[in-house]
Amino acid sequence: MTGQENTANRELPYRAIRNVDLTVPFLDMNFKNPVMPASGCFSFGREMAALYDLNRLGAIVVKATTLDERQGNKTPRLAETAAGMLNSIGLQNPGVERVMSEELPYLTQFNQLPVIVNVAGTAIEDYVMVVQRLSDMDSITAIELNISCPNVKCGGIQFGTDPAMAQSMIRAIKEVARMPVIVKLSPNVTDIVQMAVACEEAGADALSLINTLIGMQIDVEHKRPLLANGVGGLSGPAVKPVAVRMVYEVTSAVSIPVIGMGGIMTGVDAIEFLMAGASAVQVGTANFVDPYACIRIIDELGAWCDAHGVRAVTELIGAAKA
């Protein structure tokens, strides 16, 4: 018997906040709360299901799925930085066929859990084929187009920083997708608003941001970059101010819903994003620090609302705008 299963018994007491309505409308759905794990920070949910009931989440976003299986980058793939971390996983995943046959069916047992599948690739055709394949599956709530992964050489990063390329991609995807398409934006751009507006114009149903900032750490003892891949994606509390700023700017410029993320560790962090204009939030790195982070954040969100006389979490959305 291994430890993972054992820890399942020790989850936080679920504090039902009776006076607060945590539901948020998202596209034509209602999420039971605005909190979902971020892609790549929750795998496909199986490990986490051993810790708590996934039905408690607003939704789940699974690891980036590509057309073919990928083994990802060499190790070390992780580095710790001040209030953050770098990763260069490089989209390791079993490929869309095995994701559909081995991973997604597992999640159907959580009958109240909207499933969002993060899609990545190298060329538009890859993305189109993955989305086409995923469209066969009714249990998928939405697609999150990862046009911004900084960890694949000559990969998706181009789409995420060039408005015209992002538009071509989105138009192609929208032709084949039978579910709503959320486009995930890269923060590594001069003008995030320009990117967001371009995506909206091209038919994105929603946006999510931010993906990781590109960073590097030098191993001074060995006189070389610490990550085998050289650069990696920076996430965690360190990036939160950049993320909040971008969410604030983007939600002022587009009318499609925006999912905010970047460094959320607590309920109050989530509230910052909601007040900046996000309709929902994703939690990434925090899951590694505290496996119960998502449900703790949901609880903290409810408790904060309760203490502040906020009856519905929707009241917070965009509240910090003049």
Binding site: R10, S43, M48, T75, P76, R77, L78, Q92, F288
Partner: protein
């Protein structure tokens, strides 16, 4: 995830500490495998956002205590070393898959290097308890880095080598692994720095001794959700990256690939 109290914390070598704390799981009820690890936050500051993996070294089922033995490597283990008895520690685990015991084995060869030695203590205890003959070969940098020898000696013979000859024979653990010596064992269990594991794997493959290696990769989550900690293995003729935290850290030696 549990907040547990530190029960004892003492230096047992040069920058090496033995840390005992209340087990995050009920040892009586669940039991732990030797080779599993505990994933520890050294402080709640964001300066050390990620947990540090340390191998389970000893369990005290009666008092529900677990012990890890660690070396100060960087800032995180330095910070850990400043914790006092009575302080609270945020611990996840025990996690991962440890060393399997084989019912039909009669004698086991344990091979450890440096701070790879700790998990062998609990392993030796369980092997001896299961009636196997245990022989441990351990290598250290020097006398000052030698740890856990008397603990291991309680469960069987111990051969010590050091790089500088300040304790036991001068040399590497691999020097001890002659064909003659190895032929007395049914299986080996190794833990230590990657170059050591690689050498051990090569030699004992030649000697046709099956065994297990405990791998060390940088970990993020420790529970299989970040895919940061992978190592290359070969299964059914296919090379693939598997998560050392979830499928390991202990792997059958024959499937582990080093590049």
């Amino acid at each position: 995830m549990s907040l547990v109290k530190i029960h004892s914390h003492t230096a047992i070598g040069s920058e090496i500490y033995e840390l005992t704390f209340v087990s995050p799981v009920d040892l009586q009820a669940v039991g732990c495998e030797p080779g599993q690890f505990l994933h520890i936050r050294v402080t709640d500051s964001f300066d050390f956002l990620l947990r540090r993996p340390l191998s389970l070294c000893k369990m005290d089922i009666e008092h529900n205590l677990v012990t890890v033995v660690y070396q100060v490597k960087g800032a995180g283990t330095k910070r850990l070393s400043e914790k006092q008895v009575g302080d609270v520690l945020d611990v996840l685990g025990p996690l991962g898959h440890g060393y399997p015991l084989h019912a039909l084995d009669r004698a086991a060869l344990l091979i450890g290097g440096g701070v790879g030695v700790p998990p062998l203590v609990e392993l030796a205890r369980q092997l001896q308890k299961a009636g196997k003959v245990v022989h441990t070969v351990v290598g250290f940098q020097s006398n000052q880095h030698a740890i856990l020898i008397s603990e291991l000696a309680a469960y069987g013979a111990v051969t010590v080598v050091t790089n500088d000859g300040s304790l036991g024979r001068k040399g590497l653990v691999t020097d001890e692994l002659t064909n003659d010596f190895c032929s007395s064992y049914d299986r080996y269990y190794a833990c230590g720095p990657t170059p050591m594991l690689q050498a051990v794997q090569q030699i004992l493959e030649k000697h046709k001794l099956p065994g297990y290696l405990s791998l060390e990769e940088r970990m993020g989550c420790g529970i299989g959700i970040c895919v940061g900690c992978v190592h290359k293995v070969s299964r059914d003729g296919q090379e693939m990256n598997v998560k050392t935290c979830k499928e390991g850290p202990v792997f059958a030696a024959q499937e582990v690939l080093f590049t």
